[in-house]
């Protein structure tokens, strides 16, 4: 699971090494990545929102 | 790969995609009430609650004063006059105040209208609590009839410190027929 989160984080960052990428694509089902991706998007939204709230007050 | 398998795969994908599509349609439909709820919670766009609120019992903050401006406007097509009889009042947060508005029908027919409120700055909207307001429902006036209606409100003490003036604007709109979809929920 940690690996999946790391990969999704790498995706957000937009950088991924070939070796890790190969590993990601060893698993056949993309669902794990999609679910984690959507979840991380929500986390991201929450984080940016929190920073914005901090900056506003 | 044989055709059978492919066909099954295509069918599975199409069905799944259609589910996603259906989900998005549902989400779109849900966006309208979600937006209303979101507005009410955050005061986004200066929206206030559209039904009476209970008094916030946090006590009166005598150390602060807030100027409340009351502005009225008329929309197109209603022969009414709406006047704020107390255009500016100064209140303490937490204090319950009453201001009066005068509605007059200067037309020749009975007609109905509704005053739609908006509060600025929008950050103050959810701290403007209305206990009694003519804006919760539509009004009917006979030709030449005039009536005074009160607004009972409280600025709750949680109002951000930097807001020292609140403006409440009422726009008067004619109400012929109301379809309770997307708009008022009465």
């Amino acid at each position: 699971m940690l690996k999946v989160i790391r990969s999704v984080l790498a995706a957000f960052f937009g950088v991924q090494s070939e070796a890790n990428r190969q590993q990601d694509f060893q698993s056949t089902s993309p669902w794990k990545f999609i679910v984690v991706g959507v979840f991380m998007t929500l986390v991201f939204v929450f984080l940016v929102g929190f920073v914005a709230w901090l900056a506003a007050n | 790969m044989d055709q059978q398998q492919r066909q099954a795969g295509v069918q599975r994908t199409v069905i799944r995609t259609l589910w996603v599509l259906l989900g998005m349609v549902g989400f779109t439909v849900a966006l309208v009430p979600l937006y209303d709820v979101f507005c009410e919670i955050t005061g986004l766009n200066g929206k206030t609650a559209d039904s009476a609120q209970v008094i916030s019992a946090q006590g009166v903050d005598d150390s602060r004063e807030v100027r409340v401006q009351l502005v009225t406007r008329s929309g197109n097509g209603l022969p009414w006059r709406l006047v704020a009889l107390d255009p500016v009042v100064t209140v303490h947060p937490g204090q319950i105040s009453q201001v009066r508005f005068e509605f007059t029908n200067v037309g020749e027919q009975q007609s109905s209208g509704r005053a739609v409120p908006s509060v600025s700055p929008s950050a103050g909207a959810r701290h403007f609590r209305k206990m009694e307001c003519f804006c919760f429902e539509q009004q009917w006036l006979q030709p030449g009839e005039s009536m005074q209606l009160p607004l009972v409100f409280q600025v709750d003490p949680d109002l951000p410190k930097d807001i020292r003036t609140l403006t409440l604007a009422y726009t008067l709109y004619p109400m012929d027929e109301v379809v309770a979809l997307g708009g008022f929920r009465d």
């Binding site: - | 929309g75 097509g77 209603l78 500016v88 908006s118 600025s120 930097d162 003036t165 604007a169 004619p174």
Partner: protein, 383 residues
């Protein structure tokens, strides 16, 4: 590859030629003609410097990116015998070129946040003005000052339709500017009567939407006397291009004089309803009022723009002898769901009587109806 460079140099040189010519054209704001105006308020100058900072950062990024790109295009040409390398990934490089923009963006966000917070701080204003957008004019109401008026485009139609030489302030001049005292924080409350408009004066760095049924606010404080011009910035229909804004900043003393003169004029206007008006007087006054407030939709000759804007000449209630009451009502109270506003609460009884009289007698309508201002006042004051 020299050709790409050549093309860009070519385009750039054309731009430079234009810049030099534009500088001579009359300027409607503090812009150099090709850049954002630094403006005349503390906030506008801050916005300008923010703009220049990001502009130069973007230019620097472009120079680096295009520099590497054009270097590659020139050096690694096949015609020069370049052999392709075989690398296709380098995690370190990729992390660096992701992290560097990230840092730059964070650095840009900090001053932007600070400026934005100042722009949002409307507290402790000394003057509140309610600005209402109409199709297609602005209305200013000085709350607690009992002064309010419409501000219409002053450029004559003849200039727009090429019959006359265009003036220096073509399309950015109004009949009644918004007057504000210098050195005073002015809070603007914005709303609209019909569709969404947007109140924009570049020199004040203020742009805020005016939304029907809702109220927005913003503020500005001008230090130097002067005239600052702007335009509606949100598409609002046919004459979106023809509803300019003019803010005239004057010394506080002069501002008080202006307020007094406005109140006096308003009183005189009200008093006008006490006397009897002749048909000629009403027709003359009515023609002026009609051209200012009605002609944009109903057209100068009353022919309208159906189906959105009905004709007044020769058809409908304005020629119907029994249509007088309906005619008065629509002018006074407006019409729901259309651009026809309720003029009863905004124009004087004399103007209203004059314009209705005009509409019933101009362009061959000839109903002979003569509406006295006193009758209009009676209507508005309810029987």
């Amino acid at each position: 590859m020299g050709r790409i460079l050549y093309a860009y140099l070519y385009a750039a040189s054309i731009c430079l030629i234009v810049l030099s010519t534009t500088a001579q054209a009359s300027s409607i704001n503090t812009s150099s003609g090709f850049n954002m105006p630094p403006g005349v308020t503390e906030i506008s100058r801050e916005v300008y410097s923010l703009h220049m900072t990001i502009l130069w950062i973007c230019v620097a990024i472009a120079v680096v990116v295009f520099g590497v790109m054009f270097y590659s295009l020139i050096v690694y040409r096949k015609s020069k015998g370049a052999k392709p390398a075989h690398f296709h990934e380098n995690t370190t490089v990729e992390i660096i070129w992701t992290a560097v923009p990230l840092v730059i963006l964070v650095l840009m966000a900090v001053p932007a946040t600070a400026t934005l917070k100042k722009m949002y701080d409307t507290s402790d204003a000394e003057l509140d003005v309610l600005v209402t957008g109409y199709q297609w004019r602005w209305r200013y109401e000085y709350l607690e000052e009992d002064v309010s008026f419409f501000s219409n485009l002053a450029t004559p139609r003849e200039q727009i339709y090429e019959a006359e030489e265009k003036g220096d302030f073509y399309l950015v001049e109004v009949d009644e500017p918004m007057v504000v005292p210098t050195g005073v924080k002015v809070r603007l409350l914005l709303t609209a009567n019909d569709v969404i408009h947007s109140w924009w004066v570049p020199d004040l760095a203020v742009k805020k939407d005016a939304i029907p049924g809702f109220i927005n606010e913003t503020w500005f404080k001008v230090d130097e006397p002067g005239i600052y011009r702007g335009q509606c910035a949100e598409l609002c229909g046919r004459d979106h291009a023809f509803m300019p804004i003019e803010v005239k900043a004057v010394s506080p003393d002069e501002y008080q004089l202006w307020l007094a003169s406005r109140r006096e004029a308003a009183e005189a206007e009200v008093a006008g309803a006490d006397r009897e008006w002749s048909l000629d007087e009403l027709m003359e006054r009515g023609a002026g009022t009609y051209n200012t407030y009605c002609a944009a939709c109903h057209q100068p000759q009353g022919q309208g723009l159906p189906p959105m804007f009905p004709a007044l000449a020769g058809v409908g209630m304005s020629v119907d002898p029994d249509g007088l009451r309906a005619h008065k009502e629509i002018v006074l109270y407006g019409k729901t769901g259309t651009a026809m506003p309720a003029f009863g609460s905004t124009l004087s009884a004399a103007e209203l009587a004059a314009v209705i009289t005009y509409e019933r007698n101009a362009w061959g309508n000839d109903t002979g109806d003569l509406i006295q201002p006193s009758a209009i006042r009676a209507m508005l004051e309810s029987q």
